[in-house]
Symmetry: C2
Subunit: 164 residues, 2 copies
DNA sequence: GCCGATCATTTGAGGCCTCATCTATTGAGG
DNA sequence: CCTCAATAGATGAGGCCTCAAATGATCGGC
């Protein structure tokens, strides 16, 4: 039997009353992200036999047709370089991306989508977007906009607190 | 698309203008969570040589002094049972939790914090909360409240969309 | 030309996580 | 009782991820 998760019991709804407001905000944020991520992962897996990290990497390349260096991918995906190496290795093996040596810097590699990779990504992206739209459709356009703006502030807050 | 500006570079800020609003909301949510999570992980690692999953598991046990069964932990942490088995094994080995057999069901185990585990957790929790407070301190109390409420709606939206 | 600092990437150990599968136990009906 | 489906947990393969260390290339200054 599969170990999948379905009940409305989670980290956040279990926080005791004594927990403080900032902590509960953080736990709720984490819960929302985990829920959405689990849905998106399940969908990618079920319909395309693809993982979210692979999809994210390909998404970056689709936006940058001239390709990206490993380090650029690492920054954009917010993961370590070693990690990008591994995922790229797999995608190369599957023929979805290429690693090319740029003429000017022999330390670097430029990763690009192959035509097959691009086709594969576009097919997934369409379904993926519809899925995300559905997940957030319980909020009105105004609420989505407010949430979007508040998250922008949160992002700034976290970044500046972290860099102290 | 010039790459020469030294702006914060991540998944979300790189979404092209053509991407739709729901998708950008999702990417921004993911970015915020990733940023906060990375800070929190780094802090737990640096100050206490502890990981976030271990901390989360101990937090659940601290709120439930009578202990929790593996399956309960799995639901609350939103991870699979196999995963809980592994993390629990380590904490048992480190003397921070115990696995006890309940009298009524020989299939199950009840996991509890040891006194040492509780002391260790409480020490971390104090520092952890201060850290989280700092990360969200760039938002006003009102904004935090609004964000909290919008995330509640998002959680409901995601849950109901997923269960269709 | 050479040195050292820095940079891009890879490697390897180890932790987290999922899925699929397995074992043991429980509990409801015959 | 006995069977059988459901349940609690463990296990193993495989992917993701981080950190730390290593390799090789580049660049500025002498």
């Amino acid at each position: 039997m599969s170990d999948t998760i379905s009940e409305p019991v989670d980290r956040e709804s279990r926080a005791s009353r004594a927990d403080h407001e900032a902590l509960r905000l953080w736990l709720r944020l984490l819960t929302c992200t985990s829920l959405m991520e689990a849905s998106v992962r399940a969908e990618l897996r079920r319909d395309f036999d693809c993982t979210l990290p692979r999809f994210d990497l390909m998404a970056q390349l689709e936006r940058n047709p001239d390709g990206l260096r490993m380090g650029e991918l690492s920054k954009r995906l917010m993961v370590t370089g070693g990690n990008v190496t591994g995922i790229t290795d797999q995608l190369v093996k599957e023929g979805l991306v290429t690693r090319a040596a740029p003429p000017d810097d022999r330390r670097a590699f430029v990763v690009r989508l192959t035509p097959a990779g691009r086709r594969s990504f576009l097919r997934m992206a369409e379904s993926h977007e519809a899925w995300v739209v559905k997940l957030v459709s319980g909020l009105s356009a105004l609420e989505r906009r407010q949430l979007f703006d508040l998250l922008a502030k949160l992002k700034k807050s976290v970044t500046s607190a972290r860099d102290d």
